[in-house]
């Protein structure tokens, strides 16, 4: 079978898998960013309880494997009465895992906003919340954007694991096709190229664009 | 290196008084910026030549080319009669290969503005590295030679310290010992006192005075210490705009500079002091 014939026959499934992968990536990203912001800020909170919760969360999710977390959420959580449908379990696991990494990024970026900015906001008598939202966070976002670029590629790669709980993403589709055709180079090779294209020609340029847009917004372009 | 016609350059320098270092029509440029413009400069064996001039005049480039840290765009540099930047093949000169460079480069030693000691080696290990691994001396011989040189620069007590534990002046003295341990015929000093606190400059210049007095070394020194250059040099070259604007004995150049630019430069330097 030529490669073109292969694509003709299995292109639909590969395409639908790709769409599922993209959808998973988008949903996990939204979740990861939300978790990262909340836990990152909690890590900087003066309240020791909030700080402690965030630290435990981050250490657990960074200290164990995404695959372990995925299996745990999918197979064990139902025993506690929380049953997630496999697609949901998939993007929740990926989002929670990468959110823990993102939290450290958020924390680092906030801490690296120059001290003078905190003092200036204080001098203007801003409330702590207002200071964070109006002054510190916009500058921190710019600092952490390059880190998020790498993290989102890690996240995209992480979504491939949900195939192991039978979510029909790109990884799952090519694994199935390989199981019936044994055309491993064609199936897995195609998937590798698709992941690469998404990472290199979609995520990376998007993050660059976002960085430039943020710089313009902050008047630094 | 650009292809150039080298037919006018001899395969080696011969005769009674072959200079130790000879720059012949040497040109260096970065893109369209010409740093050195057809430089001719001979340094005799045992001669001490100081190079002065405003920043950007190309004076440091002269030393860096001689140490082969920069390639040249035109001309030929000879060391001890043999071409450095080129090598003879048949009856003509071709750009030097790395073996040729290594052979000729062995005659040259250099000290840097920022010392550039190896931070993970002690003072003694810094000095022994080259003799053991390049010259093939036994550890014992290299150690004796290095200890002797460290004694000469007054660093015997600190020989087992890492550079991070040494002051700038001490580091520079170790760097001089390290360069001398390779037994070069030519020593290059590139602004070796510029990164030092004023109160320790003397300990480095004293070591250089000692080298001049006790060794028959050929030396090229780029410096901002006009007084020191005047004391110790056989000849001083004033660089301006990539060329030698004026050169002569220290007395002549510092006492009676002929060119207007030299006069301006020297009076500006004096005012700064």
């Amino acid at each position: 079978m030529s490669y073109l014939e292969f694509l003709g026959q299995y292109g639909d499934r590969i395409l639908s898998g790709t769409l599922v992968t993209v959808l998973l990536t988008v949903l996990s990203s939204v979740l990861a960013i939300a978790i990262a912001l909340v836990t990152g800020l909690m890590r900087l909170s003066p309240n020791a309880v909030l700080r402690g919760i965030a630290t435990v969360y981050i250490e657990i999710f960074r200290g164990t494997s995404l695959l372990v977390q995925l299996y745990w959420i999918f197979y064990v959580l139902p025993l506690f009465g929380v049953t997630l449908e496999k697609f949901t379990a998939g993007f929740v696991a990926v989002g929670m895992n990468l959110g823990a990494y993102g939290a450290e990024l958020v924390r680092g970026a906030i801490l690296s906003v120059p001290r003078g900015q905190w003092e200036a906001a204080l001098a203007l008598n801003m409330t702590p919340a207002r200071r964070m939202i109006r002054v510190i966070l916009p500058q921190a976002v710019l600092i952490m954007l390059p880190g998020w670029g790498n993290l989102l590629i890690e996240l995209l790669k992480g979504t491939a694991l949900v195939a192991l709980i039978a979510v029909a993403d790109l990884m799952f589709q090519v694994k199935q096709i390989n199981g019936t055709t044994f055309l491993s180079a064609e199936t897995f090779g195609t998937a590798l190229i698709i992941y690469y294209v998404i990472a290199r020609f979609m995520i990376t340029p998007f993050m660059r664009w976002l960085e430039r847009a943020m710089q313009r917004k902050l008047g630094r372009a | 290196m650009d292809a150039q016609d080298l037919s006018g350059f001899p395969l080696r320098l011969e005769g009674d008084a072959v200079p130790m270092v000879s720059f012949r029509k040497v040109t260096k440029s970065y893109g369209s910026l010409v740093v050195l413009d057809s430089l001719d400069l001979d340094v005799a064996e045992g001669e001490m030549v100081s190079v002065i001039g405003p920043s950007g005049s190309g004076k440091t480039t002269v030393l860096r080319m001689l140490m082969t840290l920069e390639t040249i765009n035109g001309g030929v540099i000879y060391v001890d009669g043999e071409p450095l930047t080129h090598m003879p093949r048949g009856d003509r000169l071709v750009p030097a290969d790395s073996r040729h460079l290594r052979r000729i480069r062995a005659k040259i030693g250099m000290c840097f503005q920022q010392f550039n000691l190896f931070p993970h080696m002690t003072a003694l290990e810094n000095c022994m590295e080259g003799p053991v691994h390049v010259l093939g001396l036994s550890k014992k011989e290299a150690r004796e030679r290095s200890e002797e040189l460290l004694a000469m620069v007054g660093m015997t007590e600190k020989r087992d310290q890492h550079p991070s534990r040494l002051s700038g002046g001490q580091q520079q003295r170790v760097a001089i010992a390290r360069a001398m341990a390779m037994r070069p015929k030519v020593m290059l000093f590139d602004e070796v006192t510029s990164a030092l606190d004023p109160e320790v400059i003397g300990e480095v210049t004293n070591v250089i005075r000692k080298l001049v007095a006790e060794h028959n070394l050929t030396m090229l020194m780029v410096t901002h210490q006009m007084g020191f250059a005047k004391d110790i040099s056989d000849r001083v070259c004033f660089f301006y705009g990539g060329r030698i604007e004026e050169q002569g004995t220290p007395d002549a150049l510092f006492g009676h500079p002929k060119r207007e630019r030299t006069q301006q430069f020297l009076s500006a330097v004096r005012e700064a002091i």
């Binding site: 494997s65 694994k175 590798l192 992941y195 290199r200 | 062995a106 590295e129």
Partner: protein
Amino acid sequence: MFDWRWDFTWDILPRLIAATGNTLLAAGLGYAIAVVLGLALALAQRTPSRALTLVVREAIEFIRSTPLVLQIFFVFYVGPQFGLRLSPWTAGMIAIGLHYAAYLSEVYRGGLDSVPKGQWEAATSLNLSTSRTYFRVILPQALPPSLAGMGNYLVGIFKDTPMLSVIGVAELMHTANAIGSETYRFLEPFTLVGIIFLALSLPTAAGIRLFEAWVRRKLGMV
């Protein structure tokens, strides 16, 4: 806790601990490959050949932007298609070693770039050969700034070993899965796997920070 059964826990613990040995072995072997191959990839980008640099850079980008689990499948299944059979261990070590070599080469690259230019110049002025310059002068200085990154990826490779279970390497996750499908109990095996990973990766991360400080002192670079 809920339905946790301690007798079952004690039953399966020895099996999981034995499998932990395999997990550590896989992480260690994969890391050894990655450390050496990563250095080769970093040095290959420093030759005068622009073409080689470009090809290596692009290959590293490719490996870094595609999922490890897919690479493991690829290495394991593509061989037989062309008559080359690899055992799960061999295929797994090649895939994970190569994957982390790409990451480590970036760490080394940063370390190498952080060595001041003057160190190269001093080596030239002492007439040291290129290989001596690398091994005696540059690499020892590139090491301390690389250690933090190297340590992160050591923990990273350890945490990625569960992916080897997909081609049947009998490490922790594979064993927990097997226990789960034999007994239909997932709570204890999967939770224990999580605990074992935590118990190993947190102290390792702390140990690496201590080691880093020790190396800096050892090299006299404090």
